[in-house]
């Protein structure tokens, strides 16, 4: 019996040693390895798809141009499932097994934070196109994480823009605000909107929150209907606002819907948010060549109009690759310096980075009318 237990141990050990055979990643002098990480399975996979498509398109373009600073780009994909544990595992896998030097992505903040925490220890530079939590680039004691960047807004700037727009352009007096707990981007927008709107003499009559899994908003909407505000600020992503908008229309709520750049998607249910306004970094009618080009290329490749997440992924990948190009090397510290000093004309506007590795960009206010998204006004930071 003892012998059998011993032999079991031997088998386990042998197995361990066999399994532990290290994969030797032979990175030849002129290749750079990049991981594109995001939820590819699970309930949030729709966001991961957009992020991945955008990033891969950027990588393809750079490779066609001969690569940044002459480096050929190789990429691996990682499925982080919008789950912190899976994300931490994926981070270790792409950094330690695939030996990537850069990571584009992760979509949900709850997955990007653990990825950054591991990647930073191995000096792997991460650029997220969509993770909005402040803690992605700043650690718990308030220091900026050296190797983490993001290419999306987090500044509550948009909240201020929309509050000003509601007060001045729409002459609104009362507003309702709903937000999703657990999403810093949405919380930030909602809080800033409330502050700016009340400072401007308006009144927030309904301020409600919901959780990510919710699909039935009738209780919140009944309250909104009851209060009948002039504007209804829903700074969520397009999936939720499509649902909220549709249910609000069913309820007969006539308040003007307002939102942020999370609305930007071909999948936005334009009928549900008809007559609404949202802020965004660019608009489809924008004549800047990079925007025109991006929409055209994306449509040709994936047969649909890019959404905010695809744009985020595309910009994130472009920023990293442009920084490599600028730095002329793939040394992480050199690339970090290059990103910090970059001024890049991305799809979502001209991007520079602040001290906390957040981008600074302008915003445009767009209008949803007759199933189309039209340009309304531009606001600078």
């Amino acid at each position: 019996m003892k012998r059998r237990f011993l032999s079991l141990i031997v088998v386990v050990l042998l197995l361990g040693i066999v399994l532990s055979g290290c994969k030797t990643a032979t990175t030849t002098a002129k290749t750079v390895k990049i991981a594109v990480v995001g939820p590819l399975t699970g309930a949030q996979a729709t966001f991961g798809e957009g992020n991945k498509n955008g990033a891969l398109l950027a990588i393809e373009e750079w490779n066609a141009k001969g690569g940044p600073a002459g480096y050929k780009i190789e990429y691996v994909l990682g499925d982080s499932q919008c789950d912190p544990k899976a994300a931490a595992d994926v981070a270790k896998k792409v950094v330690d097994e695939d030996k990537v030097q850069f990571i584009i992505g992760a979509v949900c903040s709850s997955e990007t934070i653990p990825i950054v925490d591991y990647a930073s220890t191995k000096k792997v530079v991460l650029m997220s196109g969509t993770s909005t939590s402040a803690k992605v680039t700043v650690d718990d004691s308030g220091n900026t994480k050296k190797y983490a960047f993001r290419a999306c807004f987090i500044d509550p700037f948009q909240g201020k823009v929309m509050a000003g727009f509601a007060l001045n352009n729409l002459k609104a007096k009362t507003a309702a605000v709903v937000l999703e707990v657990g999403n810093d981007y949405i919380i930030g927008l909602a809080e800033e909107f409330k502050k700016a709107f009340e400072a401007g003499g308006g009144k927030v009559v309904v301020y409600e929150s919901f959780v990510k899994e919710d699909t039935d908003f009738s209780a919140i909407l009944a309250k909104v209907k009851d209060a009948n505000p002039d504007v209804f600020f829903v700074p969520t992503y397009y999936d939720k606002v499509s649902l909220i908008g549709a249910q609000a229309k069913q309820k007969g709520i006539t308040s003007v819907l307002l939102g942020g750049d999370g609305w930007d998607s071909a999948d936005l249910d334009t009928a549900a948010v008809e007559g609404g306004f949202f802020s965004n970094h660019y608009h489809p009618g924008d004549s800047r060549p990079i925007v025109v080009d991006w929409i055209k290329k994306y449509q040709a490749k994936y047969n649909k109009v890019p959404d905010a997440l695809a744009t985020g992924g595309y910009d994130a990948a472009n920023l990293v690759l442009a920084a490599i190009d600028k730095a002329g090397s793939i040394d992480p510290d050199a690339v970090v310096t290059a990103i910090e000093g970059i001024s890049y004309d991305a799809v979502s506007g001209k991007i520079t980075f602040d001290a906390q590795h957040n981008p600074i960009k302008a915003a445009a206010v767009l209008k949803v009318q007759g199933g189309q998204v039209l340009y309304e006004a531009t606001v600078n930071p």
Binding site: T41, A43, G48, F210, T215, A219, A222, L243, A246, D269
Partner: protein
């Protein structure tokens, strides 16, 4: 009536604290209702609408549990398939409401029978937990397989154009819509039809016999396997209807659509006493109502805590649910 009053009196004497809490809750609710009766009425109307959708799914859970004692976790995902079937029928092939609903029912019934044959039937004689694990496996499979890019893709789809032209009316400040009437009408028809089938037909008698005692039912010449398969098909068909109505009310379709409504319907079935058809219906209405009222008056983010706390409390008071038969509970 006298009996009922007697039972209540006994129950009050047994657990006065809980009754006191219940009465206080009702009084508080009445107070809130008086403050703003229109809002309260709106909550009730929305709760009923949600409850009817849950009811259609809960019936499937309850029938399957009643007959094979299996918590069919794949049921919520069958519900999702029903939504997709209705969506493709109406938007791609421009079918009208009723044919699309029939298609959703047929597709779901077929799928459920296939699942039953592959994953549950071979395990009839194995420990019950094995079938539960395959049910969880089938649920994962349906969710993740349909999310693959060549199937339905992980993207959500807006259900438009709708098979119904949306109309709404304002009755004393409360918004009611034709969708709500359709949901309630279809739900009622399904329930009545099911009730008739189970309690007034030979097949229904066979179902009840199998649920009661399989070996004896077999000795009486009932084809037990056929009856079980039929039960799965029937439950799934109702879930198909529920799936379609759900996406008509909440017009967004994705492959993970069935998870939360599935869970809530299951809870509703337990609440009403799993295995009991009127129980599932009452349970679903209660859960729908509690959800809406809790989100409206207490906290929309703590809604699940409230719903599940109530579930646990009700189970503690009546361990087999509101209408459950205590005799069925072994051990």
């Amino acid at each position: 009536m006298q009996k009922l009053l007697n039972r209540i009196a006994v129950s009050v004497r047994k657990s006065p604290v809980i009754w006191a809490i219940g009465v206080l809750l009702l009084a508080w609710l009445a107070g809130r209702a008086r403050q703003n009766p229109v809002l309260f009425a709106q909550f009730l109307v929305d709760g009923i609408r949600l409850g009817f959708v849950y009811a259609l799914v809960a019936l499937g859970y309850t029938m399957v549990y009643g007959i094979v004692r299996l918590i069919n976790f794949a049921h919520g995902d069958v519900f999702m398939i029903g939504a997709f079937a209705a969506f493709f029928a109406t938007t791609r092939y421009h079918w009208s409401f009723v044919p699309a609903m029939v298609l959703a029912m047929v597709v779901c019934a077929f799928l459920s029978v296939v699942i039953e044959r592959i994953a549950y039937k071979p395990l009839r004689d194995a420990p019950r937990i094995s079938a539960l694990i395959t049910a969880v496996g089938m649920s994962f499979f349906l969710e993740y397989f349909t999310a693959l890019n060549f199937v339905f893709t992980p993207n959500f789809i807006v259900f438009a154009p709708q098979p119904l032209q949306f109309k709404s009316w304002n009755v004393l400040g409360v918004t009611v819509s034709n969708i709500m009437f359709v949901i309630i009408a279809v739900g009622t028809i399904c329930l009545v039809a099911l009730y008739y089938l189970v309690y007034r037909t030979k097949l229904g008698k066979a179902m009840r016999a199998v649920a009661w005692d399989k070996p004896t039912a077999r000795l009486m010449g009932i084809d037990v396997d056929l009856v079980i398969t039929f039960t799965f098909a029937l439950g799934a068909a109702l879930a198909g209807v529920g799936g379609m109505l759900y996406v008509v009310a909440y017009p967004q379709i994705r492959t993970f659509l069935g998870v939360m409504p599935g869970l809530k319907s299951f809870i509703a079935a337990v609440f009403g006493g799993i295995g009991s058809i009127p129980g599932a219906f009452i349970g679903a209405l209660t859960i729908g109502m509690v959800e809406t009222l809790a989100a409206g008056y207490l906290s929309s983010t703590l809604r699940d805590t409230i719903v599940f706390s109530i579930l646990i409390i009700v189970l503690l008071l009546r361990p087999t649910g509101l209408f459950g038969e205590a005799a069925k509970e072994k051990a």
